[in-house]
């Protein structure tokens, strides 16, 4: 898999002190870590901070050559991200006053990711606006409320098949819009 080999070579270059390789690794993994943190916390600012925590820990490990199985880089970063997120949740339960907000003056999220994120959300808002009200309603209940098709069907007074069809149709349409846009956008990720 070319991407795996490329990531492995980047890790080797980071260990050798190549800052450009660090940039490439950050660029590749930051959106993934951030997506994971966002889904797990539902807090954009916190997700940014946890992404930074993760990337710093990962880079530190790479710099020291602690990752000796570079073909497992993605799994390693994912594991560290989960560790950082769980660590934060655990500490927050113990110390509700604890916040990473205070750290934000020292460690800030990649600004380009912010910019990209805003652009993507604007595009998504347009894609959502183009859906029918019924399809959008199903997406809302699915993604925001976390309801399953059976529950949505009950709520809307339609059959489960209808709810499922609306959901699949809505998902397909918005992903097509994003896909088309991403094909026209500058490549910022390694292609498979």
């Amino acid at each position: 898999m070319p991407e795996t080999r490329h990531l492995a070579s980047l890790v080797g270059r980071v260990a050798a002190g190549d800052p450009q390789a660090e940039s490439e690794l950050v660029e590749h993994f930051a959106p993934r870590v951030r997506a994971m943190a966002l889904v797990r916390t539902r807090d954009r600012d916190l997700a940014k901070d946890l992404t930074q925590e993760t990337l710093l820990a990962v880079l530190q490990a790479f710099r020291k050559g602690q990752v000796r199985a570079p073909d497992r880089v993605a799994g390693f970063v994912c594991g560290v991200a989960r560790n950082v997120i769980n660590n934060h949740k655990r500490r927050r339960l113990k110390h509700p006053e604890t916040s990473l907000d205070e750290e934000a003056t020292v460690i800030a999220a990649p600004e380009r990711e912010d910019h990209d994120g805003q652009a993507r959300r604007q595009l998504m808002a347009k894609a959502l606006a183009a859906l029918s009200a019924a399809d959008r309603q199903v997406l809302l209940l699915t993604l925001v409320e976390g309801l399953k098709p059976g529950q949505i069907a009950q709520k809307l007074g339609v059959s489960a098949d209808v709810a499922r069809t609306r959901k699949s149709r809505a998902l397909k349409r918005i992903l097509e819009v994003i896909d088309t846009q991403s094909q026209n956008a500058p490549v910022r990720h390694f292609l498979l």
Partner: protein, 292 residues
């Protein structure tokens, strides 16, 4: 979008929060390596954010848990009626010429991307390796909370496992160990811990099994199990596992906010030169500074 057999429904269940924890963990490991699924997750999370913004006025940091279960659920149906107008207004607003993107309410001073240069010297703790922080030292030091620092210190970078190739035929236990460590190397710590636990019950004195079991439990967020396994590894007297275990016992103690126990374990780790490249000594120095 690159094709993946999983399809967008899996990403939708992930973003919607309807997956079980093991399924969620498995999917995260998948999308970290799968571009198609990652893009689907990112797009659907964007969609969730836009819908939530419109309906619930979510505008960034809410500090809130996932929305499910909140009394706002009833609003969803009625709010759908508002969505059409809301989305239209949003699209209009964001596309106005000269519109200024919304500013994050926080002050940002630096970025990890891209790192400007490799640090000249190894800093004492991970956060000091943050590339080119531009906040003034006095401001940043006063702003750093004790808990924030403890949180970072408790982060564990799992030690890497390198398999030894032997010519002799492996026995069943060795095969089980290798299978568990395949999960470990891939970041599937829960599965690794399950496999290693079986071995640990069969051979409780095997220091390497106890050591990697402890790390796997630590990465799976089971601190008490991690402590038990690491302590057994430390008590085994089998180097290097008995030495290295003390560094990770310190991490377990840090997660429990037990600074005294953390310092004690770090002292042993420093004495035995355990832990990754002087981390034990650096961490111990920082810890003493805070305790003082």
């Amino acid at each position: 979008m690159t094709h993946c057999d999983l399809g967008p429904d899996t990403a939708e269940r992930y973003v919607g929060g309807t997956m079980s924890e093991p399924e969620r963990t498995g999917f995260e490991e998948h999308f970290f390596a799968c571009d198609a699924c990652f893009r689907a997750v990112q797009a659907l999370e964007d969609a969730r954010g836009v819908l939530a913004d419109t309906v619930l006025g979510e505008t960034g940091s809410t500090g809130a848990a996932p929305r499910r279960g909140l009394p706002l659920r009833w609003m969803a149906i009625a709010a759908t009626l508002v969505i059409i107008a809301g989305l239209s207004a949003r699209v209009w607003r964001v596309s106005r010429p000269g519109d200024v993107p919304p500013q994050n309410s926080r002050q940002t001073a630096s970025t990890v991307e891209p790192p400007a240069a490799r640090p000249q010297a190894e800093p004492p703790v991970p956060q000091a390796q943050a590339p080119v922080p531009t906040a003034s030292p006095s401001a940043s030091s006063t702003l750093r909370s004790r808990h924030g620092r403890l949180e970072r210190w408790a982060v564990v970078i799992p030690p890497q496992y390198v398999a030894l190739t032997t010519r002799s035929e492996q026995d069943k236990d060795a095969q089980t160990f290798e299978e568990a460590m395949t999960h470990y190397s891939a970041g599937r710590y829960r599965q690794a811990a399950d496999g290693l636990q079986i071995l640990a019950e069969r051979a409780p004195t095997a220091a390497h099994v106890q050591f990697f079991l402890g790390i796997s439990e630590l990465m799976s967020d089971n601190a008490s199990r991690a402590r038990g396994a690491l302590q057994r590894s430390a008590d085994s007297g089998v180097s290097p596992y008995s030495d290295e275990a003390h560094f990770y016992l310190a991490k377990v103690a840090l997660r429990a906010d037990d600074l005294t126990a953390a310092a004690r374990e770090l002292e042993i780790a420093v004495d035995r030169e355990a832990g990754p490249q002087g981390d034990a000594a650096r961490l111990l120095a920082e810890l003493r500074r805070v305790v003082r």
